[in-house]
Symmetry: C2
Subunit: 288 residues, 2 copies
């Protein structure tokens, strides 16, 4: 039996065609935020793939996605999450959308995720040891998530818009144009990490990156590193992880977080984001 | 005698034609960052005004401006600042560019200003009482400045990119489209101010504004208010002003800061930014 699994976020669509349990083919497409007609965009991305079964997570289940899938409130266990997925027919295919997860902190302030829960449940399936005891996951991204998992249940989480801020600031006036090396960027990253120790300075520390270009001849690469170090450092310090952390993500982004965690003395394990999301989507297939 | 005074920032040019000591006419033009040829843009903005004497502050004196004017390092007194201004001829006119001011904090990290020093020295000229003792000024803006003035000298300052962050976030995915009222925005502002008490949450608190739209039916106006309150509240709290503050700026922006200062129990006086910059530019005329 062959099926199609997919992760459809705001900025990109990734599809995997699974044949006899193995990834036979991959495809990419535009993010939900970039298409006017999600159903048409999905049909077009699937193209000549004949599979009748399609399972998606992420913003595909958002209000502006294909259909709205509910949020399962924390504490969210695997069974409740699997049960709350949404099925519908689309051009002769059966499409399943993963539910998201919502939480509230002690003060009642809400937070939401769509897609990361699939990676978390996938990671627990790949490594059942992680479904025992208390675990802290971080999933770097546009909206990075810190997720507390207790005995396999998603207990609480918190979102940081670190990736979005970095993207916005890259286009801002802070990073004067000019040459620079990778070594500059790394030195800047270290300076930003160090500076992030003072939690109050984010909006102020960001301007120092510009002032140092003007007064101290620092390169724009260095300033880019500072911005990254300041934002990621601030995020890691805000969570002040006490135990070992599991980083789930792409190699590039995870490397930044790995550098920050290492510098801040937090031990961690890394898992590949694609492996986790595919494993999570397979759970939805198995439960259908 | 008639002269032209001007404040040329990154985003706008403002010119005042002064006749017999009074403002006779005003003009606006594009910011330095928006023009390819600053000299040509200035000549074109001056147009048919016959005055031979033009005095400018702000990014006009930046590296990418008309000519580079130096930064006077802190502690920066009025005489040193007046002396370091730069004169040059442009199409038969004598143009003077105000110097900027630079500072370093205890850790050697640099900061710079261009334009705000003119407002500060102007404010001290308008109200000589402010040139005695220790005074704390805040100048809200794209890059807002908190400036410590001791016995009339600029002793130290710190920049927050609050206005720039707000502008970037307005275009981001955080503020879902949707209706809302001014009252919503004010309630959001208060919620953001309150939330800013936890200095560690900026990047996290910003996402809550989005989650509350999804889960609690909050409007985008409310979320806009939260973002504003979180950023301005974070800035005010980072400075933890112990004494009375002087706010220099436009009515709209100053009102936001006034609301934050009031809520946080910090007494303040407000001065009009245009009055202050014109008064500062007149000092440069008088010293020529």
């Amino acid at each position: 039996v062959a099926i199609v699994l997919g992760d459809w976020g705001n900025t990109r669509l990734r599809l995997w065609r699974i044949e006899d349990g193995n990834i036979a083919e991959r495809r990419k497409g535009p993010g939900i935020a970039q298409v006017g007609d999600p159903a048409g965009a999905l049909v077009s991305a699937l193209g000549n793939w004949p599979e009748e079964r399609v399972i998606l997570c992420g913003m595909a289940g958002a209000r502006n996605g294909l259909r709205e899938a509910p949020y399962v409130p924390c504490p969210a266990g695997r069974s409740a999450w699997l049960e709350r997925s949404v099925d519908f027919a689309l051009s002769g295919r059966k499409v399943t959308l993963a539910a998201g997860v919502s939480t509230r902190d002690a003060g009642g302030r809400p937070d939401v995720m769509r897609g990361e829960e699939t990676q978390i449940f996938g990671a627990l399936a790949l490594n059942p040891r992680l479904a025992t005891g208390e675990r802290l996951f971080v999933l770097p991204g546009t909206h990075s998530k810190w997720v507390r998992v207790s005995e396999g249940w998603i207990g609480a989480f918190r979102t940081f818009i670190t990736g979005e801020l970095f993207g916005l600031l890259e286009q801002s006036s802070l990073l004067l144009s000019g040459d620079g090396t990778d070594a500059d960027e790394e030195a800047g990253f270290d300076a930003g990490l160090e500076r992030s120790a003072d939690g109050s300075v984010a909006a102020s520390g960001l301007f120092e990156a510009r002032a140092a270009q003007l007064l101290d001849g620092k390169s724009s690469s260095w300033a880019r590193g500072v911005v990254s170090g300041l934002l990621i450092g601030g995020e890691v310090r805000a969570m002040t992880p006490a135990d070992r952390v599991v980083v789930i993500g792409t190699a590039t982004l995870s490397a930044r977080y790995a550098a920050a965690l290492t510098r801040l003395g937090v031990p961690f394990d890394a898992m590949n984001g694609d492996d986790c999301v595919v494993a999570g989507l397979r759970l939805l297939d198995a439960s259908a």
